[in-house]
């Protein structure tokens, strides 16, 4: 079984690359390979100019890693953790650096409690702080905000933005299109271990457009509504019979909510609800893989 194959990526210095994909797409395996935790069977990579396979020690000197599997020591306090990492990174004044980071990530009050007593959000912030005791050239963030409260997420996002202004390159994996949109200069969509699509967030949005969905009261008019959607979007509509809903992806920027409602009204479809929103990752994903298969066919 290969979790990653044909994964080609180039990330420019000082930019954020968002690796976007559903669970099981191979994102974590890719990060584990690129951070020297796993050895690749084949292929090559350069991190901050160092060959991944031949110079793993040089790679480790250039990187910081925060992921759900690479964790700080729960038996140590937050302060003890950061001091230890600062010392191992040969930072001058490890105690001062630890204090600085604790303040910056809102952990000063909990600094002298064992990290095992921290909430999920605090723990993740401590994890990130531990990767930043010495500013890394390349920072790997593996799903840094999965399961975080909005306040912690904002803190993490701000920290990432600040790092890139100082020239750090960030590779971020995420399941959230919104997160990639907020942070990434470039997005790589991965599926089954390979890159399915790359582009800027703007290109992605233009490419995938929006998701239109209408809900009707009478199941008999559902097919009629789907016909209207088909005409407007040119995309295959998907049904949710239980909710009496039908939806489709559109790339037509002139398709607005009022126009959608007018068209459906003209076709004699009584509406309960209509919405036009950015698509979820799953919808993007289905759409792009469908396109890919179409091109191949």
């Amino acid at each position: 079984m290969r979790a990653v194959r044909g994964l080609d990526l180039a990330v420019a210095r000082g930019t954020v690359c968002g690796v976007l994909g559903p669970n099981g797409a191979g994102k974590t395996t890719a990060v584990r390979l690129l951070t020297t935790l796993l050895r690749p069977d084949a292929g090559s990579a350069r991190i901050a100019g160092h060959d991944l396979v031949r110079e793993p020690a040089a790679v480790r000197r250039s990187i910081g890693v925060t992921g759900q599997y690479a964790s700080v020591d729960g038996d140590l306090t937050g302060r003890e953790n950061l001091r230890l990492f600062a010392r191992l990174h040969r930072v001058r004044g490890p105690a001062d650096r630890a204090g600085e980071l604790l303040d910056r990530f809102g952990l000063a009050e909990a600094a002298d409690r064992p990290a095992s007593t921290y909430s999920g959000g605090m723990r993740r912030r401590l994890d990130l702080a531990a990767s930043l005791v010495r500013r890394p050239e390349v920072l790997f963030l593996d799903e840094p905000t999965t399961g975080l409260d909005p306040a912690s997420r904002t803190l993490v996002w701000d920290a990432v933005r600040e790092l890139t202004t100082h020239g750090t390159t960030v590779l971020l994996t995420t399941q959230y299109l919104e997160e990639a949109d907020q942070l990434a200069d470039d997005i790589a969509l991965v599926d089954r271990g390979r890159v399915a699509h790359t582009g800027s967030p703007a290109q992605f949005k233009a490419l995938i457009g929006a998701y239109v969905e209408v809900v009707v009261a009478d199941p008999d008019v559902l097919v009629k509504a789907a016909g209207v959607l088909d005409q407007l979007t040119g995309a295959e509509p998907t049904f949710d019979h239980e909710r009496g809903a039908v939806g489709a992806v559109t790339r037509d920027a002139t398709l607005t909510l009022p126009r959608l409602v007018r068209e459906l009204d003209a076709a004699g479809v009584p509406l309960l609800d209509a919405s036009l929103r950015p698509p979820t990752l799953d919808e993007v994903f289905l759409q792009l893989t469908a396109d890919f298969e179409e091109r191949v066919a």
Binding site: R39, S71, D73, F85, L88, A130
Partner: protein, 260 residues
Amino acid sequence: MSVLAYEGTALLGRQLRRMRNNPGLLILTQTMPISMLLFFGYVFGSALAMPGGEYRSFLVPGLLVATAANGIMTGMFQAAQDVHRGVTDRFRTLPISRAAVPLGQALADVVVTAVGTVPFLLVGYAVGWRIEGGALEAVGAVGLLMLFRFATTWVGIFLGLLTRSEEAAGQLGGATFMLPLLSNAYIPTDGLPGWLRTVAEWNPISAVTTALRDLFGNAPVPEGAAWPVAHPVAGSLVWCAVLIAVFLPLAVRRYAHGKR
């Protein structure tokens, strides 16, 4: 080398803080030998041919070595816990020597064992154990004990990195409790049937226990024993050298490569 010393010391400090913040395992491993000394010394001691006082003097070195052999359990548990919690992977992404983390763990374990030896020997003194030989020999005995602990800890670290699960480490660790039962730590081996005696005397615990009894002057080297017991100091040093030469490189390799 100085790099490894610096990093090893930092990680030794980490292990000591870890034990201070979470003293459960520490309390268990430190109080266990004391309660065993009192239990075995008075309950079993009353049923043995040896006079009770003499048996407790015999038992103190045996329990010291049996406790040192628990380095397998402690080493395994801590290494597996670190893997399980992702701490090992975090350290593996750091620009530090591949030997620093396991070395720090092994050294911290020896330090804690050395400190734990003090209350145990005080209780031993209270129940009649004495240093009956020279002071230099007694220092040698403690040194040998620490070397043995250092060796067993590496066995444990390797097994912990191999099993990667705290539960498996706990279960396997329980099995290490059996090891001293098949040695001369608690009983003299000369009463055992021939083949069983051979097995018991080739148990590294027996060589180290005999060396300690000899160096503390508690009991003479038994006659007609297998080579490691008949030459207990040399036998102990060879056993420790073999264990370290095999398990230290295995553990460091395992640590460096992670899971395959």
